[in-house]
């Protein structure tokens, strides 16, 4: 790392191909993100009633006590979620990548599942376990006479958010750890470093791009997330305030859009900050050891401790899903530690319809994931490897998508695309492809961060070597850059894919018929009535299993690939 402070980027002038790529991506972002969101957010800059341009709404924002408090709370909760998310992710990542640890593939997959929290049912399941009268507190109260307010106030939000979003850190950090060259570690060991010092001074710093990618995602995602605070009925945070104002019936309140603008600005600022933190450092390593860091066997005592820690963490982070499973099998579950009885009736009820939902979800989410990896990879390459004008703007525009509430994007799509008719008279906005585009835009920042981290770890000298040997730029990208980035690209795809599979807020606006509906929508229509809770949970379990199976498969493919690479050396 950083032996040479920032290898100077040697291509000052842009190639026509690069300019074309920038133009193409800019067009894509303009059509599917900037214009639709702009048609809605524009309201922030207009005076209510007259529609005249003004900035008075922003002055009102900073003068209002509630918004000041909300702003502070959002920053505090996001920062604390990063801290707790790190504490959960770090042991899992290190143990599974640095030690010979049986079942690390399983742990990597399980540790990833919390990200797939189906809407509504996930919330109900969490309340049934950790709520004031959830399983844990009912038992605590019976036995010991006290309750722990897991799910109350800002601390409740931090608790749920850390459990929900720590996989961002886990995935990106693990990928980074795998990509570290073994020789770095060996060199340090030869010089007498070992144990925690080795980790702190050599390994962790080398994995910094992955960690920062994950941590900045967690920060921004928590900052912009409205589902969790609303589930816990915490309203004095920015994202819920924006949502509550944007979606009220009949009101055209500019403050909701003002907050959206503030959210976008803060998100971009946080990403910019993490980029600054990385500036002037080079994290790439030239060699690729097979499978990254050397794996050390655990001693007996260490193994017991390690498995204990991993087991506890997994139990904690998977508890919402255990609750979900119980809920899907429960007859009635009300004010009791466990359901009154069990049944499989809910699964039979959703069985007929679920195949359609599953098919739609798989198509939408994998297309969205694919688009994200392609666009994200291209943006990462343009930013890190070229000097084309406007490349940073692409990065920021794509990142801004994190901060745009799904419902704003949904309304924007209706405004922009509903007027355009297809030859048979149906509006363009009703086509299922638009759902895919909305999902791709909403999840693009995840894939982008992963691609960014992956490319930062590839040494430019490898590309230069290839070019010196006469390879063209395209050939270098295809034969050198892409293979070395595989792990990161896959991490990006998996994150985009699995979170898109359970996304609801933008889809709810755009779904036009039940035959086009993904599983999250199916869940939503069940979760509005008491009798629909069980079937909704059953659909939720099906969604989680489906996404987890796809994730496990892709981990398996990467693991095998890395093994064969390692053997060839």
């Amino acid at each position: 790392m950083a032996f040479a402070a920032a290898i100077p980027i040697n291509r000052i002038s842009a190639k026509p191909g690069q300019i074309a790529a920038v133009a193409l991506i800019a067009l894509f972002l303009a059509i599917f993100l900037v214009i639709p969101a702009g048609t809605v957010i524009y309201t922030a800059f207009t005076e209510k009633g007259t529609g005249a341009l003004t900035i008075v709404n922003f002055q009102d924002f900073f003068r209002t006590r509630l918004f000041q408090q909300s702003f502070f709370n959002s920053v505090y909760v996001s920062a604390m979620s990063v801290v707790w998310g790190t504490l959960i992710a770090l042991p899992l990542a290190v143990l599974t990548t640095r030690f010979e640890f049986r079942g690390s593939l399983l742990i990597q997959t399980l540790g990833f599942i919390p990200l797939i929290m189906p809407p509504f049912v996930g919330a109900v399941a969490m309340q049934l376990l950790f709520g004031r009268n959830g399983t844990v507190n009912l038992l605590l109260n019976d036995w010991l006479g006290f309750r722990i307010p897991f799910m109350e106030g800002l601390n409740g939000v931090i608790f749920v958010q850390s459990l929900h979003y720590f996989p961002f850190i886990l995935i990106n950090l693990s990928t980074s750890l795998r990509n570290i060259d073994r020789s770095m570690e060996e060199a340090a060991q030869n010089l007498g470093s070992s144990g925690f010092r080795l980790f702190r001074r050599i390994v962790f710093p080398l994995a910094m791009p992955g960690y920062l990618a994950g941590a900045s995602l967690v920060f921004v995602k928590v900052f912009d997330d409205l589902a969790t605070p609303l589930l816990l009925n915490v309203k004095d945070m920015l994202a819920p305030q924006a949502y509550l104002r944007v979606t009220s019936v009949g009101l055209t309140d500019p403050m909701g859009y003002v907050i959206s603008v503030i959210l976008i600005v803060v998100s971009i600022f946080a990403m910019w900050l993490s980029a600054v933190a990385m500036r002037g450092k080079d994290y790439s390593t030239v060699q690729r050891g097979g499978g990254g860091l050397s794996k050390r066997p655990l001693r007996r005592g260490e193994a017991v401790l390690a498995y204990g820690v991993v087991g506890l963490i997994l139990l904690l982070v998977l508890s919402p899903h255990i609750g979900l499973l119980l809920l899907s099998l429960a007859t009635v579950w009300s004010f009791s530690p466990l359901p009154d009885g069990f049944t499989v009736a809910h699964y039979t009820r959703v069985f007929g319809e679920s195949s359609l939902y599953i098919k739609n979800t798989l198509i939408y989410a994998s297309l969205a994931g694919l688009i994200d990896v392609i666009v994200g990879g291209a943006i990462a390459y343009l930013v890190l490897r070229t000097k084309v004008i406007g490349r940073r703007w692409l990065d920021w525009a794509a990142t801004a998508a994190l901060a745009i509430p799904g419902v704003v994007l949904g309304i924007g799509y209706l405004r922009t695309f509903y007027g355009i008719s297809l030859p048979d008279g149906t509006p363009l906005a009703t086509l299922w492809v638009m759902v895919v585009m909305a999902l791709a835009i909403r999840r693009l920042p995840y894939a982008l961060r992963a691609c960014y981290a992956a490319l930062q770890q590839v040494s430019q000298s490898l590309e230069e070597a290839a070019e010196n040997l006469g390879a063209t730029k395209q050939r270098t990208i295809r034969r050198i850059v892409l293979p070395l980035m595989t792990g990161g690209l896959l991490a990006g795809f998996v994150t985009s894919f699995s979170t898109a599979a359970v996304e609801l807020s933008a889809t709810l606006m755009l779904i036009q018929s039940n035959s086009d509906a993904p599983i999250a929508y199916g869940l939503y229509v069940f979760m509005q009535s008491p009798a629909g809770r069980g079937p909704g949970a059953a659909l939720g379990v099906i969604a989680v299993i489906m996404v987890a199976a796809c994730t496990l498969l892709s981990h398996y493919v990467v693991e095998r690939r890395q093994k064969t690479l390692g053997m060839n050396k």
Partner: protein
């Protein structure tokens, strides 16, 4: 070969024309009702009207309204179907509904004291809903608290931290409940009751179903809900009870045909079906359990099912003045948010202190403490604006952006929030001082 194709095309074209002539095809309905409600209706409607298929698009009431509004240029929706009358009012005022006279006759004009249909014929009531108090029996038993039956009960100390409500700005049905209390008890006394309940709230949810959901799962003991949430939960086996307080109102849940509906005939067929005896019977299904608008149906209703046309308690319910409600909708919702939802911690802090002082006072009387406590109570109940101001053009224009506004909505919100913060803090310190005097 060519001839066969041409012939086939002709036949299919003729078939399409024929189908259109008799009616049929896809009827698209945007609704906030869950699958448990829409599925039985879809099956029964399609069986009764062969040739039609009902395409259900499920959206929350507010996004449904936004959706119909945003897509009006190329409308694909035939019907809008939801509970909250204010959503229909909003659609009607934006000219998004079309007038229609259903063929079903003989239905009552009023349920309780609320007109069943829109006077201009843009939307029609198909079921009645009353508001009341839902409670979880296991929760009440475990916490050893009695079943509440009146709004006033919910202000009592024993219900501290046990009550849930949906924010009226988010739930049209809760808005009507709030407005009913304000109209029934008057502006000042009504807000006093609401803040009394507010001080006992455990949560203010952002969607209507959040409240019955929390009560069903036992996260909270008592919820202020629309009746069918409780009835359908009972039918699904949840240990919950429901009571109509004496100050309440019954209002219709509605359906309306969207302007420029692509399948006007189909839309009319569904409205007629929904109001027919067949359609009304579906309302009694265990997963739906809504009060039919056709009085004859109550003979088929299960034991203990309330009948708003016969039961005396519904006859004595107050007259709900929709005009008064409409004038101050935004103001009432925003006041609730700024004085209760967003100030919940401070309001609860003050309420808890008042409860503690009351309890101590009951044991040993102290005149000075009593005076302080009275001051604390009136500080909590104080309102930043009067009923007249709430309905005034200046305040309404602040919300709509009209010319007569004297302040922007954001400025009013900040003023009201600051007012509440100050009063609640004052109330808390007075109540604490009172308690200190007694000790």
């Amino acid at each position: 070969m060519l001839k066969t194709i041409a012939a086939a095309m002709l036949i299919s074209a003729a078939a399409i024309v024929a189908a259109h002539a008799e009616g049929g095809g896809k009827v698209t309905i945007v609704t906030s009702f869950s699958k448990d409600v829409t599925d039985p209706f879809k099956a029964s409607f399609e069986a009764a009207n062969p040739g039609y298929t009902l395409d259900v698009q499920n959206k929350s009431t507010s996004s449904g309204v936004k959706y119909v509004d945003e897509t009006k240029g190329n409308n694909q929706t035939d019907l809008f179907w939801a509970s909250a009358p204010d959503a229909f009012d909003s659609l009607k005022s934006r000219k998004l509904l079309t007038r229609f006279t259903p063929s079903v006759t003989g239905l009552p004009d009023k349920v309780g004291s609320y007109p069943v249909n829109d006077p201009d014929g843009f939307y029609f009531g198909f079921a009645a809903s009353g508001y009341g108090i839902m409670s979880n029996d296991r929760y009440l038993e475990a916490n050893n608290i009695p079943k509440p039956s009146e709004w006033g009960d919910l202000t009592k100390p024993e219900y501290y931290d046990h009550v849930a409500i949906a924010a009226p700005s988010r739930s049209g049905t809760t808005h009507l409940t709030i407005e009913t209390i304000l109209q029934g008890e008057g502006w000042d006394k009504g807000w006093g009751t609401l803040k009394g309940i507010g001080g006992n709230l455990q949560q203010v949810t952002e969607r209507s179903f959040g409240v019955p959901d929390a009560v069903n799962s036992g996260q909270t003991g008592i919820g202020i809900v629309i009746d069918f949430f409780a009835f359908s939960a009972q039918a699904s086996g949840f240990p919950v009870s429901f009571a109509y307080p004496s100050v309440t109102t019954v209002v219709p849940a509605n359906i309306g045909i969207v302007a420029n509906a692509p399948n006007q005939k189909g839309a009319e067929a569904f409205v007629n079906y929904l109001l027919s005896e067949k359609g009304q019977t579906v309302l009694l299904e265990p997963t739906i359990r809504r009060l039919p608008i056709n009085p004859a149906l109550y003979e088929k209703a299960p034991e203990g099912f309330p009948n708003p046309f016969k039961d005396p308690r519904f006859q004595s319910m107050i007259t709900f003045d929709a005009d008064v409600s409409k004038k101050r909708t935004d103001v009432v919702d925003t006041l609730f948010d700024q004085l209760i939802s967003f100030q919940l911690d401070k309001l609860k802090g003050a309420t808890k202190a008042v409860h503690a002082a009351e309890q101590a006072l009951a044991k040993s009387d102290n005149a000075e403490a009593r005076g302080l406590l009275e001051e604390a109570r009136s500080l909590i109940a104080a309102m930043p604006i009067t009923a007249e101001q709430a309905a005034s053009q200046e305040v309404r224009d602040a919300f709509t952006g009209g010319d007569q506004k004297t302040a922007r909505q954001a400025e009013l919100e900040q003023q009201w929030a600051a007012f509440a913060t100050e009063k609640y803090a004052g109330a808390q310190s007075k109540a604490e001082a009172a308690l200190a005097l007694i000790d």
